[in-house]
Symmetry: C2
């Protein structure tokens, strides 16, 4: 065989071997990923709050309803804007009477998959979060649940919708049912992404760079906390395992996190691990919104959680993987309900 023919044959054999190896590696990567992550369900049902069309329709209206807030400007959508993937883009949300929330607003998308709501896990569920927001000073700002329900009842269209959604209740307009209706709506806000298609067996759903990023994400140890269906959202963890987070992020003051809720010293600087679904669409990052871009956030996480100084190539690959977690917005978010007409709910101190 002439020399050049031999080279061609060798090259062809190498390419075949490489392709086979790559194919085997690909299948291996997906098998590993499938053991660590899970594709999204169609909806996030709960035995405590079964999803019904009546609850979802009412909850969707209530999600956008400002007239139940103290100053008439705050709805759930004030901090969870549908067209910003369920966040507001601020470091810290601003609620009723312009009061600033203590922590960044997490997205409402896929939120019901998580073990709890809010950064410190001090809201049991999306229902609990929606109910408590009614009286949270930097949220809706009502002085009491009674005041909130009184405002809601000034809007003639709502009581019949509550009666339809909660047929067994004699007096259905309650803070708990407000939470259940909004919770049922939020349980429909699922955003299937390329990564879900990949986990479902579609090798073409991820780019080569995103696959390399997935491998990096698993190898460097991100999956210790960011795993499961939410790629996070399933556990609590200290922020700053290796070094103080506030030094690495430039945060003005440390936030003691879950310690302030439980008073357990083991919970000092502990926060809920956020889900990374749609993370590319939801800057700024961390509980204090201290970092504006995803590469910065990946760099800091590597450093303060894993003690690793990730290089730009590693960060680029991980970010490519994280972008594959950006999902398509649910239909329920894309359609505008028309809220019941009502006399105004004027702010008390205009």
């Amino acid at each position: 065989m002439p020399h050049d023919r031999l080279l061609v044959a060798l090259a062809a054999t190498s390419a075949l071997l490489l392709a086979t190896a790559s194919h085997a590696q690909d299948a291996d990567l997906r098998a590993q990923a499938a053991a660590i992550f899970k594709p999204l369900p169609k909806t996030m049902t709960s035995p405590d709050n079964p999803i019904t069309p009546e609850k979802v329709a009412l909850g969707r209206m209530l999600f956008f309803e400002t007239r139940v807030s103290e100053d008439g400007t705050v709805s759930c959508a004030r901090c969870h804007l549908p067209w910003l993937y369920g966040i507001d883009g601020l470091q810290k949300p601003i609620g009723a009477e312009h009061r600033v929330n203590p922590r960044n607003a997490p997205t409402v998308l896929n939120a019901a998959l998580q073990i709890s709501a809010h950064w410190r896990g001090d809201r049991k569920s999306v229902e609990d979060q929606a109910t408590q927001a009614l009286v949270g000073p930097p949220s809706f700002g009502n002085p009491s649940y009674e005041a909130a329900m009184a405002r809601l009842k000034t809007i003639p269209g709502y009581p019949p919708l509550f009666a339809k959604a909660f047929t067994k209740d004699a007096d259905p307009v309650t803070p708990e049912n407000w939470g259940k209706a909004i919770g049922a709506y939020e349980r429909t806000l699922v955003t299937p992404s390329p990564f879900d298609r990949y986990l479902g067996g579609d090798e073409t759903a991820l780019s080569a760079e995103a696959k390399a990023g997935l491998r990096e994400f698993m190898q460097v140890g991100c999956i210790t906390c960011h795993n499961g269906v939410g790629v996070g959202g399933g556990m609590y963890q200290k922020f700053g395992l290796v070094e103080d987070y506030w030094k690495a992020t430039g945060s003005p003051t440390p936030d003691k996190g879950r310690f302030d809720v439980t008073k357990d010293p083991a919970d000092m600087y502990v926060f809920k691990v956020p889900s990374l679904r749609n993370v590319a669409m939801t800057p700024p990052y961390f509980h204090d919104g201290s970092l504006a871009t995803l590469p910065e956030a990946v760099r800091v996480m590597g450093r303060v959680q894993l003690g690793r100084m990730l290089n730009d190539e590693q960060i680029g690959r991980i970010v490519a993987f994280l972008r594959s977690l950006t999902g398509s917005l649910p239909e329920g978010l894309a359609t505008t309900p028309v809220l019941p007409v009502a006399p105004f709910a004027a702010p008390k101190k205009p």
Copy 2:
């Protein structure tokens, strides 16, 4: 002919005569109405700002964009909520840094049909309104147009969309083009109503009560000001022609209206006559949002503008007619755009 048969025949004849009379009256009413009002066009085009798909798509995004405001919470939709028929339900809107606007927010629906924007007509067009809102202290609150454009340019997705919408401009991200894009979008927000179908010849589109209300509306003199395609919105008029409006409405302080704009004594207490399209869906009423319900508003208008003490039956009929001006929301309002992802625009004073 026996007595009872005679009665039956008489009744039948009367019914026939009444029906004929009623039919003639109906046709007459519609002919009168057609001379005074006009059905809505499909879109509200302007030679100064032709509607293009690129401008509308960009304008719809900008309409919901909060990150260009001083505190990151104000978009056009802050005061013009789609699901409240383009208003916010407040007496007076609350904008950036919680500053209160001096006057009630008029609906953005069909707004481009009017002679000018705002209650005092101090905004030439919907485009001018959108542009000036960028620096209005109780609107977006930016200290300057330069500051507003700097914020807008921090969002990487926007400059290419401006370039697509304004192909002839070398530097298309300008306050004028912000106004033109939002204006083009708003020029699509037309809400055809039962009254438009009626004007188009469909006698069944209005109930008998609404027709009686239309007759009343024309006879008592409302049409002196509330006429044309907007059923208002085409002229300026003194509020309180017969008696002081602030006494009849319980407004805390008189607003001098257009006088403060023109300094012409003839403009004292003069306001733009609002369009009554969707009026049933847009409480509270008047430039100061002083009245919560439509019957109250009709009663006060009769008294202070026409010197007439309308009775409950007259008011009920007029309100039935006004309800026929409630239109169906345009599709462009019902679909959620996804805004470009961006680093945050944090408020300066959190």
